[in-house]
């Protein structure tokens, strides 16, 4: 762990360095337009000439005017510290000092990433639980019924090769047009269409992993259960399920990441909050810092979720006495 620290930090530092340097050529045109308005003399003086000029030529000819590259509003590529400021402003500042923040109004502000992140997180977790539960149940069915195995399993495998996410906009619109909010509380009604997509995406990895896991006990172990005269239920709870736990966790890690992607994509068609909605709003209004902030919060959310699953995995396996 410590041995890797220096190389990892070097790579991360390199990424930030590239990011800062890339801000110059990416933003050069907007920067030059802005400093020209403030009275500076730019090397190809006409805007029309600049349009045809190469990016790097513009950079080297006007190197003394590139100061604002890292502080442009609506930059093509906002610099890391601008994104960090945006994240800070739209979480801590908004909630503590904002008029609609939790300190003033008692509820999370609908302009803060805490609110949007929690909307996405709720849908992700609900979908993940549904998808995982359904996957485990169907896997148990498949292991016990040969008919089910032969009919369903090939389709489950094929469905992993198709971009299921293409269904997302349709599922959202159809579930809204059915009108869930007539018989469900409003928060839940908005969450269910996204959760369905999340569930769908986490369902197949869990199903395939669990079938493999439930089949992992070898013939000798199965024979031993038979010598104990164990019923099918006992074989399931005492041998198959414990043996499947390592496989289950491996697919849970894939599943939780897929769930989050599902929830984010599910937020695109209906603008009712969430990180995906925030990203799309950012594209509509050219608020690039807002897109980057939502993206980084989504990445952090994914990292935390995968980390938590990994943590629970280590704990569980240690308690069960599995060698890791």
């Amino acid at each position: 762990m410590m041995r890797n620290l220096v190389p990892v930090l070097t790579v991360i530092a390199a990424i930030f360095a590239i990011w800062y340097i890339a801000c110059v050529p990416m933003n050069v045109r907007e920067v030059l337009t802005q400093v020209e308005r403030e009275g500076a003399v730019i090397v190809p003086p006409q805007a029309a000439e600049r349009r045809d000029a190469g990016t790097w030529g513009l950079v080297f000819n006007n190197i003394s005017h590139l100061g604002p590259s890292w502080s442009m509003e609506r930059a093509k590529l906002p610099s890391p510290h601008q994104v960090a400021t945006e994240i800070w402003d739209s979480t801590v500042t908004e909630e503590i000092y904002g008029r609609r923040g939790i300190m003033r109004s008692g509820t999370l502000s609908n302009r803060s990433l805490v609110y949007h992140g929690s909307v996405t997180l709720n849908a992700t977790l609900l979908g993940f639980i549904i998808g995982t539960g359904a996957g485990i149940l169907l896997a148990i069915g498949i292991v016990h019924s040969r008919t089910m195995d032969m009919s369903v399993m090939p389709w489950a495998i094929v469905s992993q090769t198709i971009p299921i996410i293409a269904l997302a906009p349709m599922i959202i619109v159809v579930l809204y047009s059915i009108g869930l909010d007539r018989f469900l509380p409003e928060g839940l009604a908005g969450m269910i269409p996204k959760a369905v997509i999340s569930a769908y995406l986490s369902f197949f990895p869990v199903l395939v992993g669990m079938v493999k896991g439930l089949r992992s006990p070898d013939a000798m172990q199965m024979d031993q259960m038979r010598t104990y005269n164990a019923s099918k239920g006992a074989v399931l709870t005492k041998l198959r399920l414990p043996a499947s736990v390592p496989y289950l966790f491996a697919s849970l890690k894939v599943g939780i990441a897929a769930s989050l992607v599902g929830a984010i994509v599910g937020e695109l068609p209906v603008q009712r909050g969430g990180l995906g909605a925030r990203m799309l709003a950012g594209t509509y209004y050219g608020q690039t810092a807002q897109i980057w902030a939502a993206l980084i919060v989504a990445a952090a959310l994914a990292a935390v979720l995968v980390f938590l699953v990994g943590r629970i995995e280590r704990r569980t396996l240690r308690v069960m006495g599995v060698q890791t």
Binding site: S151, P163, A299
Partner: protein
């Protein structure tokens, strides 16, 4: 109501027939292994058709398969245009660029120990992130055309491929490498004759993950902006018009493309890694 009842009867019949086949004496033959899932799929389709017609489900909620099939056949030129725009231009070019880039970086990472220790944990971390979120940014940078979709696909497939290829390049034993040394083989010889071939199962594993991701990336990126062509555009535009039969047709195209591309990869893998234990006939 009779239609719904018929659907249930057909379901029961199909299931009973499958149960007989699956538990019968010929269950392990190739024909039965193929027939059972096909019968299952057909029963589902027939049930879908009959229940949608019997319950008179409106077409804006769930169109029957026959309507989807008719729309699909009637709009082949449009769907072919969408297919070339999204799959061939956006998805596959991004997939090719990403795969080549990952290959080169993986060889570099494998050679330089410092990079391996630094880049690999970062790559593992990145492989788990929702990279597809980069789509709105790339659409802004590279425009609405297929270039932005290819860029999203490159970003999505790069890290999973990198991690897999690096793992594959380490999959030779000390004995095998020593043998190469006794032959007087240098680094490049060992790389091309021993280490890349033995990395192939890992590489194909990565490619199989990446091909699905590349379709996902190309389609989702179109939700953020696209020309008036492409599967993602067709899906979001037709959802807006409540033309669900068209949406299902576009999904059908995506599903077919996904399975065919995956199938091609499996065939190529069988040809190239015939020596690997996982490919041997039982």
């Amino acid at each position: 109501m009779t239609l719904v009842f018929t659907a249930l009867v057909i379901w029961a019949l199909g299931w009973a027939f499958n149960a007989r086949l699956a538990n019968g004496p010929h269950a392990d033959t190739r024909a039965v292994r193929l027939a059972v899932p096909v019968i299952f799929g057909l029963t589902i389709l027939v049930m879908w058709e009959l229940i949608v017609r019997g319950m008179e489900v409106p077409g804006v909620i769930l169109p029957p398969p026959s309507a989807i099939g008719a729309t699909f056949m009637g709009n082949l030129p449009i769907l072919w245009g969408d297919f070339t725009q999204t799959i061939l231009k956006g998805g596959l070019s991004g997939f090719a660029i990403g795969a080549c880039a990952a290959m080169l970086v993986a060889i570099l990472v494998d050679k330089v120990a410092f990079l391996k220790r630094g880049l690999l944990p970062v790559g593992n971390f990145m492989a788990a992130l929702p990279v597809v979120g980069i789509a709105p940014i790339f659409v802004m940078w590279f425009g609405f055309g297929w270039h932005s979709k290819a860029a999203v696909v490159v970003a999505m497939v790069f890290f999973p491929l990198l991690v897999n290829i690096v793992a594959g390049l380490q999959d030779t034993s000390a004995m095998q490498r020593d043998l190469m040394r006794t032959y007087g083989a240098g680094y490049w010889h060992t790389l091309f004759k021993l280490r890349l071939p033995s990395a192939l199962p890992f590489i194909f594993n990565g490619l199989k993950i990446a091909i699905t991701l590349s379709l996902v990336g190309a389609i989702v990126a179109e939700f953020f902006g696209s020309p008036t062509q492409g599967l993602g555009f067709r899906i979001s535009a037709s959802v807006g018009q409540l033309a669900l039969d068209m949406v299902w047709s576009a999904i059908l195209v995506a599903a077919l493309a996904g399975s065919v591309l995956y199938g091609v990869l499996v065939i190529v893998e069988k040809g190239l890694t015939f020596w690997h234990p996982s490919q041997r006939q039982q």
